[in-house]
Amino acid sequence: MILDLDRFARTGQPAWSELEALLERLEARADRRLEAGEAEALEDLYHRAAADLNRLEQGACAGTLRDYLQDLVVRAYREIYAAPRGLPWQGGRWRRLPRAAAGFGRRVPQVFRQHLRWFGLAVGLTLAGCLFGGLAVLFDPAVATHVLLPAEYLRHPAQRVAQDLGQAKGAGGRGPNLSEETVFSAELITHNIQVSLLTLALGVTLGIGTGLLLFENGVLLGAVAARYSQQGFGWFVAGWLLPHGAFEIPSVLIAGQAGFLLAGMMLRGGREPRWVRMRRQLPELLTLLGGLSCLLVWAGTMEAFFSQHHAVGGYGAQVAVGLSEMLLLAAYLSLAGRGGARR
């Protein structure tokens, strides 16, 4: 069918121009809200323009006109179907922030429990890594410490302990420096969130990358624990690692859980098309990521301001703090959000 473009354009042009003007008005509004009359007009004009576009698609036509109409129709479609977003500070949205934060606090453990088997897999792989790293250091310390432990302070616990004790007593070392620790804390938080994000994102490799990263992390943990314990510094390493590790290690495990969840979303069949399932479950991934990021902020703060200061209450106090944190976290993840759980 060869369309009479001239007549077609003459007939459609007033409605197209009206739609274009309406869209320009709407797009200039930050809150994108429509008045009742505008909503009616938008729907009517959108239908007419879309029908015109379909007629053009079926005939020999000018691509320029088709592009013009398509652009109008896509913009109108978006205005009709996309919820008005607005900006966070508009319409008193900030007042709902505490309620939203409380809701998020309940939602994190709900999603965590909903996908507990993936957390179990993350724990299993990390423990396997720990076992491998620990046994390697115990049975072949000369080679294993060199290969598995990437830094001098990890290979030579005595030096590290002496340095810490020196700093604590002010003998040849520096005492706590609030400014440096603040910077250190920021570095730790951003670095750990980046690592966790990578652990989650590697779920796109069908979970293989996530699994490898968790195993590697476990190997390092196991090797450090074995090396320090082997040389009689087990109490030191517990006091050093537990206060921040109580939140940091579970965060990495939750990142692994999210990575495996992502892999499962990509792989799993079912009645629902894959893209529908993924669209529905994306918020769950982000909830886990948001939750673990909060944990990492606390872990980074503890590592910079508390874990390094063995003199504050001794190793015993540090271990006690670490164990209390672990208990609190376990209670939060297993109990919070019950009753209002939604799937």
Binding site: E57, A62, G63, L282
Partner: protein, 252 residues
């Protein structure tokens, strides 16, 4: 060029060109420059704070650098209808791959997954994924169910100059003109019309080559007498052909 096709719940069909890898890279470079400028500006402001509280200023700089790099694109795409500054300049837009409204989770996820798309460097994984998928989706797009399309905000085509054509020498051969209309497919007619409408967008040498090719095509389809052709440039011949194919639009 790859295209995105989908049908709305009302049955309207859309067909949009997908953004090429080059345009996306360029948009990324522009966005990188914007992020760099924002961070440089923030660094200047924080340097004042550093005079009194150097630790806090450095920590803020680290956190700000991390947050801006990670969330710049997500925030802009969410509040600016799928566009960042780089995408806006190049006419690109992020859209839901099935025509549904873009959600915040999708925007955030496609941007957070840049961390794997960028591996092992220079967006190699993302680039390969783009080339290997039907809708040019990097890994983040595949997970989030998004695509990047090329937006063409065209204006209504102005055909007034063509209406001024008063004489069409091909009409002197009514039987051949009728045969031309009969044998020409809608797609061929559309290409000829498009070639004329986009006349000023084409470089002169390329335009001449395109017009010559179209003339050869139509002449092979329905040969008009040589004497008629001698007096016509390829462009004039093409105008006359279009005048025959779209008689109401181009009265000869």
């Amino acid at each position: 060029m790859r295209r995105l096709r989908w049908t709305t719940p009302e049955g309207f069909a859309f067909d949009l060109p997908l953004a090429g890898l080059g345009a996306r890279c360029l948009a990324w470079v522009i966005d990188g420059l914007v992020v760099g400028a924002v961070l440089a500006l923030a660094g200047q402001v924080l340097s004042v704070l550093a005079l009194g509280l150097p630790g806090i200023a450095s920590a803020l700089q680290i956190v700000l650098g991390f947050a801006v790099t990670l969330l710049y694109a997500a925030a802009l795409e969410w509040f600016w209808q799928g566009q960042t500054i780089g995408k806006n300049i190049l006419g690109l837009q992020v859209m839901e791959a099935h025509g549904l409204p873009l959600t915040g989770a999708q925007v955030l996820m496609r941007n957070l997954l840049r961390i794997v798309d960028i591996l092992p460097g220079l967006y190699l994984a993302g680039g390969i994924a783009c080339l290997g998928t039907r809708h040019s989706q990097r890994l983040g797009d595949q997970v989030a169910g998004t695509v990047v399309v090329q937006r063409r905000r065209g204006a209504q085509p102005d055909l007034a100059p063509w209406l001024a054509q008063k004489y069409n020498s091909l009409r002197e051969h009514p039987q051949l003109a009728l045969r031309l209309r009969h044998l020409t497919t809608p797609a061929e007619a559309g290409v000829a019309l498009e070639a004329l409408l986009r006349r000023d967008e084409l470089e002169p040498a390329r335009r001449a080559a395109i017009y010559r090719a179209l003339v050869a095509h139509f002449q092979a389809r329905v040969p008009f007498p040589e004497a008629t052709l001698e007096a016509l440039s390829p462009e004039q011949y093409l105008r006359n052909v279009v005048g025959i194919l779209f008689p109401q639009r181009f009265p000869g």
